[in-house]
């Protein structure tokens, strides 16, 4: 029952996405009142598209799962995801649009004029995008396993196929309206069941959700402290701040999101779009916590079976019996699927663009091949990642972005003396340290609490290190003579 309802809803979303994708490239018979200018994407749609691409399975599944497992502190991730857009408004949205750059490698070429740095940026795009794709595919595999009982690996492979196919069919051409549609699907399909559940469970359960009990090895007083304590190391403030640093600054450097600002006609519009995004994200992030809190009361067994990331999908069926429960489950599963589809296709397209355009010569056939290769590698990486928390891996992707592209963009936009060597050194140092720490954290368990936290979320030290490297190395060289001109253009009204 649940499986059938979910499959139907997911199928409908897929069909609707395709239809919107095709309609997005409007056909217009000529008519005297036809004006190209009026067909520009309005800031509202553009902001919804950005939010749609940005709110990933990590937000839909991961935040609720982490809240169930580790406590409400997980919502600091959401605060960081949103705060990132304040940084985007203040630091990059307008200037990035004025540069005309479509991707981060484009910006590197604009600002530094170096093919080598462009290539380096292309490589880092791959690292970030793959790190970000793994949790998306994990989420898809898990949800599919849950609603239809297929093995995890089948879900992951299927997810790879669906995303590549949807890009091949039409996702390459006009994605804005599709992504905006996905934002609405996500918001509605997560918010409506959440509100219904809060009303349905009754006053007693609501009160219980606010007075947490001990579950598993995690004592309730620990759980109810609204701070992140990475891997239970006992350093909540350091963990929380490192996560905030990673998510806030990482949002600046996420390659697939920064591309969307290119659609705005002017720098001023780009800035305003980013402000609307903050509002849209703020609304959305009110809801994942509901699933986590109620899950603590109604589905605590997920903590023991290490399946907390599934709580959003499991909870409605457990709380509400019968047909209605199935429908609610289907809604949430579809919302999760929309989150997965929009984010993954955005990520995969950015990845493929980097692979085909920045690292190898262009050409449309190459773009298609690159989409296939990108999806294949992402699937391979996701297969052994079943046990990793979605949110933790997403945190790593943000940490790498925050330690590489964030300093490049911020210094490139606001500091005239950045040099090619400085940027290259900073990018290399940031990429190696942040990725290295994430890999180490995944395979080892250090004995020291400090080391545990600093490896699990390295942004606290890798971001300052990358900034410092760029500044120190740049100060020892001389920037190109057009360097100041390149910066001033970014701020010219």
């Amino acid at each position: 029952m649940t499986a059938a309802a979910s499959m139907t809803a997911i199928g409908l979303v897929l069909v609707a996405s395709l239809a919107i994708g095709l309609y997005g490239v409007h056909a217009a018979r000529t008519s005297p009142d036809f004006l190209v200018a009026s067909r520009r994407i309005s800031p509202g749609w553009n902001a919804m598209a950005i939010a749609g691409e940005y709110v990933s399975a990590a937000s839909v599944l991961g935040l609720a799962g982490m809240t169930l497992k580790d406590g409400l502190g997980a919502m600091w991730y959401a605060v960081g995801f949103t705060a990132g857009y304040v940084a985007v408004v203040a630091l990059v949205a307008g200037p990035m649009r004025r540069s005309g750059a479509f991707t981060v490698p484009d910006f590197a070429e604009y600002r530094l004029g170096s093919p080598a740095v462009r290539k380096l940026c292309g490589l880092i795009v791959l690292v970030i995008m793959w790190l970000y794709l793994v949790p998306q595919f994990k989420g898809a595999g898990m949800v599919l396993h849950l609603v239809s009982g297929t093995p995890y690996w089948v879900g992951v492979v299927l997810a790879g196929l669906v995303v590549s196919a949807s890009i091949a069919v039409g996702g390459m051409r006009s994605a804005t309206y599709v992504q905006a549609f996905h934002y609405l699907v996500k918001l509605l399909f997560i918010a409506v069941p959440a509100i219904y559940l809060v009303v349905y469970v009754g006053a007693e359960t609501r009160a219980e959700a606010l007075r947490p009990v001990d579950v598993g090895e995690l004592a309730s007083e620990h759980w109810s402290r609204p701070l992140i304590d990475l891997q239970g190391a006992g350093l909540p403030l350091l963990s929380t701040w490192s996560v905030l640093l990673a998510t806030t600054l990482g949002a600046i450097g996420l390659p697939h999101v920064i591309m969307r600002f290119h659609t705005s006609p002017t720098a001023r519009a780009a800035r305003r779009v980013a402000v609307v995004v903050i509002g849209l994200l703020g609304v959305f992030y009110l809801f994942p916590a509901v699933y986590g809190l109620l899950g603590r009361v109604l589905t605590p067994h997920l903590v023991y079976s290490n399946a907390t990331d599934t709580v959003s999908v499991v909870l409605p069926g457990t709380a509400v019996p019968g047909l209605l429960g199935s429908v609610l489950t289907a809604l949430v599963a579809t919302g999760a699927f929309a989150a997965f589809l929009s984010t993954s296709s955005g990520l995969l397209l950015a990845l493929a663009g980097g692979l085909s355009h920045d690292l190898f010569g262009g050409g449309v056939s190459r773009l298609r091949v690159a989409v296939g290769v990108g999806a294949f590698v992402a699937v391979l990486l996701s297969l052994p990642a079943g046990h990793l928390d979605i949110n933790v891996v997403v945190g790593w992707a943000f940490a790498v972005a925050a330690s590489t592209f964030c300093p490049l963009l911020v210094l490139g936009i606001w500091w005239t003396r950045l040099t090619v060597t400085g940027a290259a050194c900073g990018l290399a140092v940031g990429a190696v340290t942040a990725t290295g720490a994430a890999v180490l954290s995944a395979v080892t368990r250090p004995s020291s609490a400090w080391l545990t936290v600093l490896l699990a979320q390295p942004a606290a030290w890798t971001v300052p290190l990358a900034f410092l490297t760029m500044i120190v190395v740049s100060s020892r060289g001389t920037p190109a003579d057009w360097s100041e001109r390149a910066v001033l253009r970014l701020h010219a009204p």
Partner: protein, 341 residues
């Protein structure tokens, strides 16, 4: 080998002309090549660069005056001077001063070296001419609004004035907009939206002329509207499609302009169902060896796209006689320096 290298490097040093910052280095090389004490390179206003010391009592100005007056080599030991002729025009003078106990280069040797310097200077001028030609390419297109088109447009408007004054007024506005766009000198690049708007007004005017037996479809993904592209790359192709594809065709014609993003690329396709052309002719046009009356716009756009974006971003034509033509413009969404003002 060493001498050949020196000779080549003289040319490199003179890349920016006599007044460039490396011309002293050229003078030093010439001095070593001729085995003399000093070398002076002068233009028509006097000495520009000197390498080595001249005897205190040298009257350089008199020597230059002598060379410029007669236009030939002049010898007055220890000095020897030869004129620099660029494109058969006197532009300067090479003066060599032999060592005190040496008889120095012969007039013939000096003339050879002067010829070498002249050639290097000639190259410099050609190089700057090339840049001017690229700019002129655009100006040709701007000025290429044919009297034919102006006449037809005005005639079409006139035909509507009595029957449909509203339409006539709209067309006249279109005409004014189109002229303003074509003659605008704001910069070399515009947004896709602006170029499309101009194309649209152009098509609107042409449609009035065709008594509406031309159908137009514009399909544009809104994402690419703010992309910067070179000025006048879509309109000339559309114009070509109308003039060489649809005008010659009997019955209704259809032209479609569609654009979309393709990852980091921006693609614009212009397709008509007109008479098409021989692929050989299309090839000749794009190679720049076609008949002068045909496809000037196509060749011009193709050349400018390649100049701006590199050879792989030239136009792609798909055509066959009797089967219409499709022209594809595929350019990166971002290219450093391609900015609208």
């Amino acid at each position: 080998m060493g001498v050949l290298r020196e000779v080549r490097l003289i040319g490199v040093d003179l890349q920016d002309g006599l007044h460039g910052n490396r011309s002293v280095s050229a003078a030093r090389r010439i001095r070593r090549l001729l085995g003399v004490d000093a070398v002076v390179l002068a233009d028509l206003d006097g000495p520009v660069v000197r390498h080595g010391a001249l005897p205190a009592d040298t009257d350089l100005d008199a020597v230059l005056a002598q060379v410029y007056e007669h236009g030939t080599t002049f010898r007055k030991p220890p000095l020897c001077a030869a004129p620099l002729l660029v494109a058969d025009e006197l532009t300067g003078c090479l003066v060599a001063c032999a060592a005190p106990d040496d008889r120095g280069p012969t007039e013939h040797e000096l003339a050879e070296v002067a010829e070498l310097v002249s050639q290097a200077l000639d190259h410099t001028e050609l190089r700057s001419a090339r840049a001017r030609i690229a700019a002129a390419d655009l100006r040709t297109l701007r000025a290429q609004i044919s009297p034919h088109f102006v006449h037809n447009a005005l005639a079409a408007i006139a035909a509507h004035i009595r029957t449909d004054p509203g339409r006539a007024r709209g067309l006249l506005t279109d005409f004014a907009d189109y002229l303003r766009y074509s003659f605008s000198t704001a910069g070399d690049y515009v947004t896709v939206a602006a170029e499309l708007q101009a194309t649209q007004t152009y098509l609107e005017l042409q449609r009035a002329r065709f008594d509406d037996r031309m159908e137009i479809t514009v399909r544009m993904a809104p994402e690419i509207l703010p992309v910067a592209i070179p000025f006048l790359v879509v309109q000339p192709i559309v114009e070509n499609a109308v003039r060489h594809g649809l005008e010659k065709k009997a019955g209704p014609g259809h032209i479609s302009v569609s654009g979309f993003g393709e990852g980091p690329l921006c693609v614009i396709e212009i397709e008509d169902d007109g008479v098409g052309m021989e692929p050989e002719l299309a090839r000749a046009i794009l190679a720049g060896v076609g008949p002068p009356a045909k496809g000037v716009g196509l060749a011009n756009v193709d050349r400018r796209l390649r100049t701006v974006y590199g050879p792989e971003y030239g136009l792609v034509l798909e055509t066959a006689p009797g089967n219409g033509t499709k022209v594809t413009i595929r350019v990166p969404r971002f290219m450093r320096g391609v900015v609208t003002e």
